[in-house]
Symmetry: C2
Subunit: 292 residues, 2 copies
């Protein structure tokens, strides 16, 4: 796969933009697989110093121009609402031929916003949109840990504009980092399946916690099931309100599908229909056994 690439992975110059829990994880992970030059960009000097002390970046920058102009790969791990402005403001700073990638949890909206700028630009950059399906409830460089990526799924958006050798290279880097699968989807496909596996689960967890009528000291009456189902109810409100609204049509559809299934259980309860309950449980058991 590497035969068309002049540089080996170790010799690539990489910049991580935003050294939070995901950006920091990327830096550590790239260092682990042997990348020699990893620059970090962050608005917070303290974060840059921490990343340097942890030796997960070669050097940290608040100003973007110097690291970007040298970088073969730029991983933008900023919040969705600032990715566009970062990209547009820096479009002249990227190195010719550079691969740019992001980590935003929905893809249609950001691609729609950024694509016109890529097309207008005379820079030969290759923006490969991506989504690592791994995260932490905690924020910031202190909680960054490459282990979160081990055996996780990764989705790349394959567009006809993207160069095959760049898709191959990024895919190879991702697998080396420890992700178990790299899937290529269109933005539309991505946003459909992610509304189900990610946004719906967060909507459910939030609603479950918030539906507690607080008549009892809940903490004394929970088991692992409640703990597991509500872990992600501790949620970054700025990020997730954007993700929800940016994928609202798909999410509303998935909530409807989910409620249809819940209706089956409700009706079975109302009708003392033990057969239907068992059937639902047998189906869910069989399906869950296939998930790992």
């Amino acid at each position: 796969m590497m035969k068309n690439n002049l540089k080996k992975i170790e010799d690539l110059t990489v910049t991580i933009v935003g050294l939070g829990v995901i950006g920091g994880g990327f830096a550590q992970s790239l260092k682990n697989i042997g990348v020699k030059t990893i620059y970090g960009i962050d608005i917070d000097e303290g974060t840059l110093r921490k990343a340097e002390e942890k030796k997960i970046i070669t050097e940290g920058f608040v100003k973007t121009k110097d690291p970007l102009k040298k970088s073969d790969l730029v991983v933008v791990t900023l919040y969705p609402n600032i990715v566009k402005s970062f990209f547009v403001n820096n479009i002249e700073n990227f190195k010719d031929g550079a691969i740019i990638t992001d980590v935003i949890g929905i893809k249609g909206k950001i691609i729609e916003e950024i694509d016109p700028f890529i097309e207008k630009s005379e820079k030969k950059i290759d923006f490969i949109f991506g989504h690592p399906m791994a995260g932490r409830e905690k924020r910031g460089i202190d909680f960054a840990d490459s282990r979160v990526f081990q055996n996780a799924n990764y989705i790349l958006i394959k567009d006809k504009k993207n160069k095959k050798e760049n898709l191959d290279l990024l895919s190879e880097i991702i697998k080396k980092m420890g992700f178990k699968s790299v899937s290529f989807l269109t933005a539309k496909e991505h946003d459909e399946i992610i509304a189900f596996t990610s946004q719906l689960t967060h909507a459910i967890a939030v609603s479950l916690v918030n539906s507690d009528n607080q008549k009892y000291d809940t903490n004394r009456f929970i088991g692992d099931s409640f703990r597991d189902l509500t872990r992600i109810a501790k949620i970054n409100e700025d990020l997730w309100s954007e993700l929800f609204l940016g994928n609202k049509e798909n999410l509303l559809k998935m909530i409807q599908q989910f409620e249809n299934e819940l209706d089956i259980i409700k009706n079975a309860l109302k009708n003392d229909d033990i057969g239907t309950l068992k059937e639902q449980f047998i189906i869910s058991t069989r399906r869950r056994e296939k998930i790992d």
Copy 2:
């Protein structure tokens, strides 16, 4: 607390009825805290031999009379639908003054069924109904492990018929086994809160998995959130259909409360109301931070 009890915990003779994942866990756990004589009753000879080989029981029995007549404490870990018949068929076999306890996940129904037999009986037994909030998705003695009880919650149903010294003794045993809390509730209270923390979570997990339209290879597009929210969708259909129907009024109420919260999110999506979304996320985050 022990001053009114003639016997120390170690010197109690205990029988575990049903050596599945919970019964086996009890046996191991009681052995760990020093109980010298632990009998096991099971209809499956192979299970009894395994429990003997693991040295978590002193001796296994298919017939109930001999172990029960010697036992100061009997822990019945059978499925809900056979607890009543076990109890009624063996009521003359229990030792005078014995404490009997169960582990069924709903309490109103089983107490209603069993109470008349306790009242009719001339045996001086003390049935303390209970619910250890710990379990495993896997079944059987092979997966029994006392560690599942560590830091878990336990609920005991306190009735005016129960002797204070017996409630104290059972509570002390439970804490020694590693449970982090023992709460005393009425059966009505238990079934209300459990409909929320346990049955609702299972209804949600099952519905989530079953609402997958299977257009994609879901396994490649999930993160930990989906894994966590669906773990309990692998569910014992015989046990849980009984638990659901045995607590249907409370469960339907809790599903309604949950759907009301989901409606708030749905409406916020439809109205592009980012303020309400953030508010819901802030509430859920604050509540989830208090759960451990």
